[in-house]
Every structure is written in structure tokens, then in C-alpha cells.
Subunit: 198 residues, 2 copies
Amino acid sequence: MVDESAVPGGRRLRADARRNRELVVAAARTAFAEDGLAISFDEIARRVGVGVGTVYRHFPTREALFEAVLLDRVRQFVADAVALADADDPGRAFLGFVTAVIDQLALNQALCEALEASAGVGFETAPTVERDFLDAVGTLLRRAQQAGAIRSDLDVVDVRDILVACATAQRRASRRGGTSRLVAVVCEGMTSAEDARS
Amino acid sequence: MVDESAVPGGRRLRADARRNRELVVAAARTAFAEDGLAISFDEIARRVGVGVGTVYRHFPTREALFEAVLLDRVRQFVADAVALADADDPGRAFLGFVTAVIDQLALNQALCEALEASAGVGFETAPTVERDFLDAVGTLLRRAQQAGAIRSDLDVVDVRDILVACATAQRRASRRGGTSRLVAVVCEGMTSAEDARS
DNA sequence: GACTATATGGAGGGATCTCTCCGGTTAGCA
DNA sequence: TGCTAACCGGAGAGATCCCTCCATATAGTC
């Protein structure tokens, strides 16, 4: 977690600036989750009740705002994955991680978009975070595969696709007041015995 | 397939109008497939090399253009599903249908968006087509479930979610020059024996 | 070739979004 | 309390996009 009371130069923000910054972050957190990364700065400023200039001063780019609002979530995923890396039951650890991440992603449109991007907003200012994520998930995956719990033809990029796909389906389902069974299907498919593979 | 040489009133289009209409349809087909339903009319006009007024005259709304360009695809899906409704092997029929539709959807961004919408562009001018689609897929699904080939807790909405999710993953994978294994995982998960269901 | 219904292009008005700039305001300090 | 650096709001320029309108061009017909 970065110290939000200081600007990169180290100088301490004035009280009103700090207050506005926090309001912007809070509004952006909600807006990103609901509407994704495409939310306009005008709209964020309108919701907070400040001028758009104030938003731009604190966050010159959409990436900067993303970093302040959402990057910690991804870092938390990495930490969770690392913590599970030497679990007793690698298959259970992997599936637990996957379903937990899907639940989080389903609540957050922007996080899905950033994760699936490869060509989008999100990790420009912190290029290693995406790699850390894939590395940590890859470790969990490999251990689960070595334990025979997960089909061996999957790679970490497949897993990322699966996370995003399931989260998207889950979010759509919850909008219509239900739950997507895609998650259950995918977990079943990832764990089932290896045969009839092309 | 509608007769594209006539307007709804039945009057025959002038030759230049017919030519332009076809150019617009061709450009829209490509643009929809690549960029989805959000492609602007200005952009389509620019690609065709006509004025934007010409595009609007032929297709007053995005839905009208969608209908001219893509609705036949959905109708074809329905026809395929109906044709498979009394296949000898319902499980095989269902899975074959699903993978074929995914392959088509993966080539067409707009078709995915329309199918997943519920709240989007696409079926406004032909409201029965979406229902026909769900009905036909539902029939295939039920027969496959009765034959014990597909897990019984899935409904047709799950299947629609699965189609869109797999197609999206497939398209992303093909953009990076590969193939998504999500389809294989999902097929495995849909067919596996019923146990450990929550 | 002339006439006319039909079709065309693109200007234009309204809306939204991005990002910058600067006159006015205020927090924090002496 | 008064000063000043820091901060604020929002106007405004430039870029799209949507959709309409009408002067101009032309296909089809006589």
C-alpha cells in the first residue's frame, strides 16, 4: 500500500488536496468496478463533486488512477498464490485460489479488463505485476498438475483466460439475479482424468 | 435471406443505390466482426467511401444494419440446432453444435455481443430470433441430458454463457496466435459424471 | 436528349470525452 | 493576522460520434 498522503517527490500534500485525492480514489474504485476502465474522468469528477482538473492533477493518466485503485488487488492475488504455493493439497489449493479470484473479479469489471488486456490499460506503470501474477499462478498450477489433480495440458495463459471468462459469466449471471454454473463446469473440466485429449 | 434489391415497400432500388447498399453491408460485416457492435457509422461510411447520409438512408439504426449483416447467422444456428434435434447420439450432437457455434462466434465480435446482451443491440427488430435460438439449443441440451451425456444441472442460459465465454477466450487466443483450451475444459466439464455437485 | 423521381455527399448542430491552462481560493506558516 | 505556495474549478480547444437536412447529381424512362 502506498502512502497516499505524499506525492512521488516525497512532499506532503496539503490537507484539502489529500482529502480530494481520497474522494477521487473512492469514487474511482466504485466506478471502475461497476463500469470498467472506460469510465470518463468527467464522470468521476462529477460524482466526487470536484472539477475535472483536480482529478487530472492527482492522476495524469487512466493508468495512474488504475494503479492507485486496483493494483493492490492484483498484488494481493499474487500474495495469496504465493502463500498457497506449498499447501498440503496442491489440487485443492489451486482450485480454491481460482474460485476465490473469480469471485473477486466478478465484482470488478475493470480488474477483468486489465487482466485480459495484454493490449490495454492497467499494468503500464507496474509492468512486473502482471508477470508476478502469472508466475505465482503458474507455480500453483504446476504443483497441482504434478499431483495429478489438474489436467496437464493447461498452461498459465489458459488459466488466466479461464479466470476472466468465468468472472465475466458470473457477473452477467448475478446481474440477472442468479449464479453462473460455468465455474462449476470449468472446475470439473480442469480436474477430470486425462483421456480423449486431442 | 431477404431480397436486398428491394426496400421494405417493395419498390426496386436504383442501381447505384443497390451497389452502395451492398458495399455498406460488406464493410459492416467486416467491421462488426473485427470491432463489434460499437463501430461508428462515420467509420463505416469512411471505409466504404460514401457519405454518412447514405449509410443512414439504407440503415436508419444500428439494429437495422445488424439485422442485414448478422441475423442470418443466428438463424443458421437455429436451423443447425433444429436439424440435430433427432440425431442418434444426442450427446455428440450437442457437443458438436456447441463447438461449431463457438468457432463461428470466435470469428465475430458483434455476434458475441448481441448474443450475450439481453440489454444490447441486436434482436430488437427480430425479437423472436433470440428466443428461437434458446429454444432450439434447449431442445438439444435436454436430449443430451436425458441421454446422460451432459450434466443435468445446466440450463440453456448456462449454455449461452458458455458459448460466449469460450468464443471470447478463443478469439483472444487466436489473436496471440494460439488456441484456447477453455473449450476442451468446458466440454470435459459438461460431460463428466454427476458427483460432488453443490 | 430531356425530364423527374431517386439517391448522394457532407455540412452542421448537439452531445460526450480528453486534456490544458489560468484566474481565483485557501491551507499552513511566520 | 497576513503572506504565499499550493490547490481548485471549470472554461475551452480539439477530437469523435450521432443523426438530419437539403442542394446537387444521376439512373431510368419517355
